[in-house]
Symmetry: C2
Subunit: 130 residues, 2 copies
Amino acid sequence: MHITLESDYAVRIVVYLAQRGCRCDANTIAQNTGVTLRFALKILRNLVSGGMIRSFKGTQGGYELNRSPEEITLRDILELVEGKYVFSRCLESGDCTRPENTCCKVQRVFFDISKTVQEKLAAVTVADLL
Amino acid sequence: MHITLESDYAVRIVVYLAQRGCRCDANTIAQNTGVTLRFALKILRNLVSGGMIRSFKGTQGGYELNRSPEEITLRDILELVEGKYVFSRCLESGDCTRPENTCCKVQRVFFDISKTVQEKLAAVTVADLL
DNA sequence: ATAATGTATAGTAATACAGTATAGTTTTGA
DNA sequence: TCAAAACTATACTGTATTACTATACATTAT
């Protein structure tokens, strides 16, 4: 029913990188966001493969943002970690992305809620959170 | 991230009882909502103990709504089954119900989303769904 | 060369979800 | 009265997801 801890951590990590504004290694990131190193590494890998941040190997390696904080929204981060937000998965058809697919009035309410949440998340950029 | 199947079933069951407008036994309810009898019984028990419906034992027993469809909102049903909707459990303090408790900007956004969803659910009554 | 990084894959413990099983109790009505 | 038709209470189980960990490896700056 809620978003996952992993999403919450991912937001913290991206915000931290934006705050610092420079390349940071995994250890520093983990310590400053309160996430264990191992779990932070997993989340960082996720963010890298999703194109949100980029990584550098070797000594002096680490992570930095791939886009400016103004161009990254909360929705971008959450969708990267757990996919598009849907309040209720549709029980009748497999695909709830199109409103004309909604089978009954309840589903229409749920679809409206999903859309509203997505819009609210898209309205907040990482720059807003600094 | 989504609401549970049990909530979805609970909504269907309450809407079905409203449609029928008379006492129905568990078997009829299960068959007409597409929920297995056992699981429907569990949900019905939940709805009874929450005061949303009342039950009658013996032959001619069954279930009926305790309030009129106009007086039951989607929010009432969902909160009964899974508690108050919160988009993100607060990681810092234990209690996310008071906005002044929110510790940072992200939490404020998440709190706003939770409140919006709760309001949208409260705006829809079972009567609206018939 | 080597130490400091990140990468890839796989594994695990805890929790929640979805559903089932068993053994009742109560009520109606023939 | 008593049996059938209902509901009740408790507890169990399999599966999926969440949250995290472990091992072994690859790359790069100095």
